[in-house]
């Protein structure tokens, strides 16, 4: 049996690259999901019925179907209608849209938690509804929902492992490749688990730093 140091030297760079891919997937997916989530949450309280219906359908569909199927629809389904995406891009879009539905529900809860008077006092000074939303309401919503969106980000990070099925070389697929060559699933899956754990821990630290930073307000 070769030494641990040598093993790390042999497989380490590959794992690092795969971990980096997971990191990139996660960050981009979070960006997409926040955009989708915010848009859907605001659409839900729009005065236009079509916007409310569209947002409701989006959330209903995404929450009611398996994430893996959504990934397949984007990656395998879309080319049929002429939209061909790289595995990485398809993965970010699929997971972003997926997580966005959950973020929308979180944002909706946050919006409901803001007293009506916050909105009124800004409008009464002459702020437009959109500027009120941007400078008065959303900053408060952000503080309220931070713990919940952290959870969502962690689950997004773990969901990136689903993208192994559409050939994104992230941690899971990389490990599977090595296992196919070495027949040592136990060590490699444990190694992968530890790396995921490390990544989610980092994410948790960042989130709790943000929470501490904003905790003293209000």
């Amino acid at each position: 049996m070769s030494g641990f140091i040598e093993e790390v030297q042999l497989y380490g760079p590959g794992f690092l690259e795969a971990a980096w891919t997971v990191f990139g997937l996660t960050i981009l997916t979070i960006v997409v999901s926040w955009a989708c989530g915010l848009l859907a949450a605001l659409a839900q309280r729009s005065k236009w019925k079509s916007a409310r219906v569209a947002a409701g359908f989006y959330i209903w569909f995404i929450r009611g179907t398996p994430t893996l199927i959504q990934v397949f629809i984007i990656y395998f389904g879309l080319p049929q209608i002429g939209i061909r995406l790289s595995p990485f891009t398809a993965g970010v879009i699929a997971l972003g849209i997926n997580s966005g539905a959950y973020v929308a529900e979180i944002v909706r809860g946050g919006l409901n938690a803001i007293p009506r008077g916050q909105n009124e006092s800004a409008l009464a000074l002459g702020f437009s509804p959109s500027e009120t939303m941007r400078t008065i309401i959303l900053p408060q919503v952000f503080r309220i929902i931070l713990p919940a969106v952290t959870n969502e980000a962690i689950s997004t990070l773990k969901n990136t492992s689903l993208l192994s099925t559409i050939t994104v070389v992230e941690l899971t697929l990389y490990a599977q490749t090595l296992i196919a060559a070495t027949f040592r699933p136990f060590e490699f899956y444990i190694a992968v688990a530890v790396i995921y754990l490390l990544l989610t821990t980092i994410l948790t630290f960042v989130a709790s730093w943000l929470e501490r930073r904003y905790a003293n307000l209000g």
Binding site: P115, G117, Q118, E120, S121, A122, L123, A124, L125, G126, F127, S128, E131, T135, I136, P139, Q140, R143, Y214, N216, L217, G218
Partner: protein, 269 residues
């Protein structure tokens, strides 16, 4: 002869079946202090909130500083969003529940609107806000967050926040109702000093003594109309039975109690 500042005609508003304002008209001259009293549900708060269109009336006319509105929905003079903003920027409003923004410091609360809406340079806005905060005795608290302040302090900051926009008219919606009794006084003192400086004010209030001593006119609302109107003296010698009954219900035995005497004695629990 002071100028006419605000003119309201036949303001009507219903919530579903419930007609809350049944055609209310009012003229306010610059410098007047108009107190609005009445039982809860009489429409007084809705009326106040319709002046800056936080409650949009269903019909009626309004004139304020060159703006004229016809609130009938299909009207050519129905307020546009930008007209509404321009109206609200010139009409300050203070609420029962203060509604300071908890994510901003006291100073940021006061400077936010002047910087964003009046486009004041930041340094200038801060200078003006600090002058206002000194005036209300809260300069030391300028970097605190609202949650660190007492209710009375928060309400004074809310008044300063409205004043920072240099409004022509101030609306006060039961601004002392949510305060602990010992904190009411500091807010009333500030309002009295604004009144004495000539600020035009409309206030919905339960502080009968304050209304009597500070206002130039009193409106008594009952069931969606102004049931009695006149100089503050009507609070001593009401004409209508409805006002008599109302005053009897809320005053009990402290009729002789006066706001000016309170001021002399300072805050007492």
């Amino acid at each position: 002869m002071s100028e006419q500042l605000l003119k309201l005609r036949e303001i009507r508003k219903s919530f579903g079946e419930n007609e809350v304002l049944k055609g209310v008209s009012l003229d306010v001259k610059a410098g007047e202090v108009v107190s609005i009293i009445g039982a809860s549900g009489s429409g007084k708060s809705t009326f106040l909130r319709s002046i800056n269109a936080l409650e949009m009336p269903q019909s009626g006319f309004m004139e304020f500083e060159g703006l004229s509105f016809d609130f009938r929905p299909a009207s050519r003079f129905f307020p546009t969003p930008s007209q509404l903003q321009s109206l609200r920027a010139r009409v300050g409003m203070v609420f029962q529940s203060y509604n300071l923004w908890p994510h901003m410091t006291v100073l940021e609360n006061v400077t936010h609107a002047p910087i964003r809406l009046l486009k004041l340079p930041r340094a200038r806005a801060i200078e003006e806000a600090e002058a206002l905060l000194s005036r209300i005795g809260l300069f030391e608290k300028r970097h605190s967050y609202p949650s660190r302040l007492s209710g009375g302090q928060q309400q004074r900051v809310a008044i300063a926040r409205a004043l920072a926009m240099k409004p022509r008219l101030m609306l006060f919606d039961e601004v002392t109702s949510a305060l602990d009794p010992e904190l009411v006084h500091e807010v009333l003192v500030l309002m009295a000093s604004l009144a004495s400086e000539g600020m035009t004010m409309l206030l919905v209030t339960h502080e009968i003594a304050f209304a009597r001593d500070v206002s130039s006119r009193v409106l008594f609302f009952d069931k969606g109309v102004i049931a009695e109107e006149g100089p503050p003296d009507i609070l001593r010698h009401p004409e209508s039975d409805r006002l008599k009954q109302f005053l009897h219900r809320i005053l009990h035995d402290d009729v002789g109690h006066s706001f000016s005497n309170d001021q002399g004695q300072g805050a007492q629990a």
